[in-house]
Symmetry: C2
Subunit: 278 residues, 2 copies
């Protein structure tokens, strides 16, 4: 079985390495719009060969789409037009509704499985890829009733090999939940980074010396790539606005308690937040 | 030399373990308002002996105050009243202005050194303490011109043993900077935890399965203890309000760009935030 990877970065690269490690697939072929990444992917053993996009689509039995969500949405219909009848396509994008909506009425819709393996780290590119990235993490599979059983079973096999747990929901539910669980934390982290960078713009030495004490973890996601995240924010715009508004409400509650010296309320607020420990 | 530790939690415990490891100090005595923590601290080898507070103050050559900032502020004057003339006291509190202000005119002010070893983690208690906690991190020493040279040299020795870098500033500067670098990230994390816990209050299974993807790191600090953090927020209230307001401004900027579909501006916003990588 030939596996074709479109997008040889962190996610596509890690899936390829994980599958190769367990000898799933006979040959791995790939393509990446970034030529350097493509060359590195071969050197790193992510794929055997870089081949043109059009050839990859015809030759692959399984196509894995690991590129920014706007590009998935754009090229998915034309890929579906051209694939063989038994080819399976899956994507790994961080938003799902727009992608699923775009091909809802496509005659080959059932060859596609919409997935989101949750394993994002702030690093990117083929050098960050490793076979254990998805170990013990969760993959969300969306609108699975629209995919044919044989396509589903291959995709489930792939994520099982990665040792992922799988949960199922609609693409609409996915986008709402993930706005809070993943996209909002990214916005929060970008905003915090900009707040402190602005505050310390004339005191860089003090800033560098004082790092630590919590800022590292809360600004980890602020290192994420705009190329990946802008399309996600655009695609999940309405849920994002809802989640940011809800977050600002919670933040204002804390702020107002502090202004009003309502310290019992602040104590309760923190105790509630401690539940995140589970 | 006898070292007295008041407060045998993460910070006091880790300092004791670090000093013992390098054979600084002949005997370690301690006290903690939590009797269980005190017993554990002896079992864990943090101190040799638990002794009453009043005796500890008389017997110790160096007193390390590692308790919540409101309690430091409260008991520091009476400790200064009673110590021998060559005893050195240092505190490790996360705010410094109120503490320093409280004893500004005390006749024994120069026996006290105001410090903040930046190494906070969300864990607490003697079981979390370890000798390497402060390795390669920064200690801020405040208003050092008010401490006598011999007291300063002992404190510098202690933090050098912990392998900490030291920086010097006024207690007022400390509280302003640390509001942004440490206290604001805590508020942000508490608020995020409450936002997602509220959103998922009726969907706990989905929530537990979807964790990951950035929420772990941004809510790490939300596990912090209210007993420690409420006094910090109260003591640093004005700087906190300023830093929260500045943060909400930055967040609103992102939100408004998203509402207005100003995607170039969002791209620039993220690129700026990426500078946090240094």
């Amino acid at each position: 079985m030939i596996i074709g990877i479109i997008g040889l970065g962190l996610i596509g690269g890690s899936i390829a390495l994980g599958l190769r490690k367990s000898s799933f697939g006979d040959k791995f072929i790939g393509t990446d719009s970034n030529k350097e990444n493509a060359l590195h992917a071969v050197k790193l053993g992510i794929v055997d060969e870089i081949i043109p996009f059009q050839d990859l689509i015809i030759q692959s039995s399984v196509i894995i789409l690991s590129i920014p969500v706007n590009r998935i949405e754009k090229i998915l219909p034309s890929i579906l037009n051209r694939i063989n009848t038994d080819t399976v396509i899956l994507d790994t994008g961080s938003t799902k509704y727009d992608i699923c909506n775009r091909i809802f009425s496509h005659p080959k819709r059932n060859r596609f499985v919409a997935t989101h393996p949750i394993a994002g780290i702030e690093n990117s590119g083929p050098f960050s890829a490793y076979s254990g990235l998805f170990n013990n993490k969760t993959c969300i599979i969306c609108d699975s009733e629209l995919s044919s059983p044989d396509a589903m079973s291959i995709v489930i096999k792939i994520y099982s090999i990665m040792n992922m747990g799988m949960i199922y929901m609609t693409s609409k539910e996915h986008d709402l939940y993930i706005a809070y669980i993943s996209h909002l934390p990214h916005v929060i982290s970008f905003a915090l980074a900009n707040t402190v960078l602005k505050k310390f713009e004339n005191e860089k030495t003090i800033f560098n010396n004082m790092m630590g004490s919590g800022l590292d973890s809360t600004t980890r996601l602020a290192k994420s790539k705009p190329e990946t995240w802008l399309p996600i924010f655009i695609s999940n715009r309405e849920n994002m606005i809802q989640s940011i508004d809800s977050y600002i409400d919670h933040l204002n509650k804390f702020r107002n308690h502090l202004i009003d010296k309502k310290y019992n309320e602040i104590n309760q607020y923190m105790k509630k937040a401690n539940d995140i420990k589970r």
